[in-house]
């Protein structure tokens, strides 16, 4: 069942927003709300153990918040923040495994995010690994010259990486011009909203809403 990325994004944001509306102390309600992403995890073709572990990597920040509650003697509140944080992150992880980041970005554009911003994000994603590989090569080159702790080498590396980035962007722009670029990038993936998407959205919103506001 392949849903329109916009439908998936709306449902995810609605779920996260609903979670954030639950006040501390309503641990039972929170636990019930957790059933939705757990159910999705069980039925999705994703590596379940890996996702459950990955969601825990982001918890240190939430641990700090929970620690504040613990210091104030409120264990239930600490558990609440940890659980809410964990299940939120898990939900996002599940969705990003089922829908590509590019599709999610495009969905954001269709839902109102400025196209200019989304195109910049796409270029960023395209060249992320290229520049990281460059930075890694520079780091290794510096290490080979015994310069692990040199401010000069570090600042020169940053400067060189920056200047190369500027040159690269000019080179890319020339390549765009050479193939007829006129200032705006063509939209390549038209999204088509189907009846299935309307149905999924309705079911999702009603389920989440009923669960949240009936208790």
């Amino acid at each position: 069942m392949k849903l329109d990325p916009r439908c998936v994004l709306i449902l995810l944001l609605f779920y996260l927003g609903t979670l954030s509306s639950i006040r501390p102390g309503h641990n039972l309600l929170l636990a019930l709300m957790c059933l939705l992403p757990i159910f999705l995890l069980l039925v999705s073709p994703v590596a379940k153990g890996e996702l459950l572990a990955q969601a825990a990597y982001v918890l240190p920040f939430s641990f700090a918040i929970a620690a504040v509650a613990l210091l104030r003697g409120n264990t239930a509140q600490a558990v609440f923040f940890l659980l809410r944080s964990y299940i939120s992150i898990l939900s996002v992880l599940i969705v990003t495994k089922l829908v590509t980041t590019l599709d999610l970005l495009r969905a954001m554009e269709r839902l109102g995010a400025p196209r200019f911003l989304i195109v910049v994000a796409e270029f960023l994603m395209r060249y992320l690994e290229v520049l990281r590989a460059e930075a890694d090569a520079m780091r290794l080159a510096a290490l080979c010259r015994g310069a692990a702790h040199s401010k000069l080498i570090a600042s020169s590396s940053l400067g060189m990486l920056f200047v190369r980035s500027l040159e690269r962007s000019t080179s890319i722009h020339n390549a765009m011009l050479a193939r007829g670029f006129r200032g705006s990038l063509p939209r390549l993936y038209p999204m088509k909203w189907e009846v299935l998407d309307s149905g999924a959205l309705l079911v999702g919103v009603v389920s989440i809403g009923v669960l949240r506001w009936s208790l």
């Binding site: 290229v130 890319i172 390549a175 765009m176 011009l177 193939r179 007829g180 006129r182 063509p186 390549l188």
Partner: protein
């Protein structure tokens, strides 16, 4: 097809690079641009599609290259840049190959079909939805070439196309280029590749063309191996 008369150009920070270049190329003719690094080969080529605009007269396919005619000129001139990484700038290979066609006003579905067809012929169909970063050097070069060839230019310019390619990749590229019937201009240091893909060569030195003849004759004359 191409006519250049007294082309001069200088970069702001490095002085004159082209000092009065005259050049002509017929349609369907393949020419190699040879010469030392910094002799002006790439700078010259970048004038043919209007990326750089120096002093002198340039005509491509009967159209004078001027700011007002750049759109029409760029339909006739296909440029494959030295860095395939910078040429494949869209998030997926398929999008990138379609890019030129879409700028020409071709409908998305039609552009997609033609792009997939070409990718299949180049054995790149499996990479259609992948980030170009993950392709090998040879695959990137083929994908970059596909994106330009799909636009059906009348002149194909390639800047150091054999960079990072292994010998089988070079042979494959040469075979691919020889299948293309349009005029070709190949900037290269690879004498073997120049011999395999071109019949004529010009030699650049300090911003001028100092020799023009058959590829073999130029290579032998300047000991360019």
């Amino acid at each position: 097809m191409i006519r250049v008369s007294n082309l001069c150009y200088e970069y702001a920070d490095s002085g004159p690079v082209l000092r009065g270049v005259d050049f002509e190329q017929a349609s369907q003719e393949s020419v190699a641009l040879l010469g030392a690094n910094g002799s002006g080969k790439t700078t010259f080529a970048l004038h043919l599609n209007g990326i750089l605009q120096g002093r002198g007269e340039i005509e491509v396919g009967g159209i004078a290259v001027k700011p007002a005619t750049l759109e029409a000129v760029r339909r006739k001139v296909g440029f494959v840049f030295q860095s395939a990484e910078n040429q494949l700038f869209l998030p997926t290979v398929l999008e990138d190959v379609m890019f030129g066609l879409l700028n020409q006003g071709v409908a998305v579905e039609h552009a997609k079909a033609r792009a997939m067809d070409l990718l299949e012929r180049l054995h790149l169909e499996a990479y259609a939805e992948r980030n170009p970063f993950h392709l090998s050097a040879g695959e990137k070069r083929r994908a970059a070439l596909a994106g330009v060839v799909l636009m059906e230019p009348e002149v194909l310019i390639l800047d150091e196309p054999t960079t990072f390619l292994d010998p089988p990749g070079i042979r494959e590229l040469a075979a691919l280029l020889n299948q293309q019937k349009m005029a070709k201009m190949i900037i290269t240091h690879d004498a073997t590749f120049a011999l395999a893909t071109t019949t004529r060569a010009v030699f650049f030195e300090k911003g001028k063309i100092i020799a023009d003849g058959s590829t073999r004759e130029i290579i032998e004359r300047f000991d360019w191996v």
